[in-house]
Symmetry: C2
Subunit: 152 residues, 2 copies
């Protein structure tokens, strides 16, 4: 529950990897998969989907591969997750989906929808760049880099 899919996880890793190698023209799925221990074929399909949603640009053929379509600073974790795992809900009922059987009688779906938005906001405020800058966490609680409004 409330757990990130491994695909999304892999997707974030790959994007971060690409962000860290801006010089290279393109990196193949296999390159990235080998860099970590990710199953190559699986990563391939993930990158394909990221391409289809416009987060990556692909290039077939020899020395082909993928590159970021935008600056790493302009790609949010939310977009990645959304691209890979589809629309983001905390519950089974949220807007867009058909909802669970007891959507009418349920009295907490509305407050939960706000929680959903809040969490989505957190994810949206995180960019690939943020992941790439692995500031050595020297234990010191740094300045908060952002504040997320929690309306409920």
């Amino acid at each position: 529950m409330l757990k990130l899919t491994k695909k999304a996880d892999y997707g974030l890793m790959a994007l971060k990897y690409l962000a860290e190698h801006p010089e290279t023209p393109a990196l193949s799925a296999k390159d990235v998969a080998d860099a970590y221990g990710i199953p190559a074929q699986l990563l391939a399909k993930i990158l394909q989907r990221l391409t289809k949603t416009g987060l990556l640009r692909s290039h077939a053929g020899m020395n082909g591969g993928y590159e970021l379509a935008r600056d790493a600073r302009q790609i949010s974790a939310y977009e990645v997750i959304h691209a890979i795992d589809g629309p983001f809900f905390i519950t089974s009922c949220t807007k867009g989906a058909k909802g669970c059987d007891l959507t009418p009688s349920c009295t907490i779906k509305e407050p939960l929808a706000r929680v959903n938005d809040t969490i989505a906001g957190v994810l949206k405020s995180i960019s690939i760049q943020d992941l790439a800058e692995h500031v050595q966490p020297s234990g010191r609680p740094r300045e908060a880099q952002g504040l997320v409004a929690l309306t409920l």
Copy 2:
């Protein structure tokens, strides 16, 4: 992914229901289950687990049932979720668990751990009471009731 379990969902509904009926000495699992359309047997087990973790007090026998162990204001959504679905991770690796195969080579687990904490913080800041006060959302974006620090 990142979706609340239905069990947790039911648990929150039940807790909220109990919070809304502070006068009654105890409400049986069946009462709550009927109030919404929740499968009674399933809700029963959920409430049992909440009892075992100390969020509820149970009372067997006729006219028995459950009651909140603490004030609704003192019970966070996080506790409920944690009690029902176990420890809260966003990823498969987080502290406590054995982690996934590529925990060593993974470079994003540390930033993700912070995201994890952030979201957990959001959940912790929400009490059952907050759910019960279903302030008619008149569209007007009320004052933010809290801010969550987003450190990465």
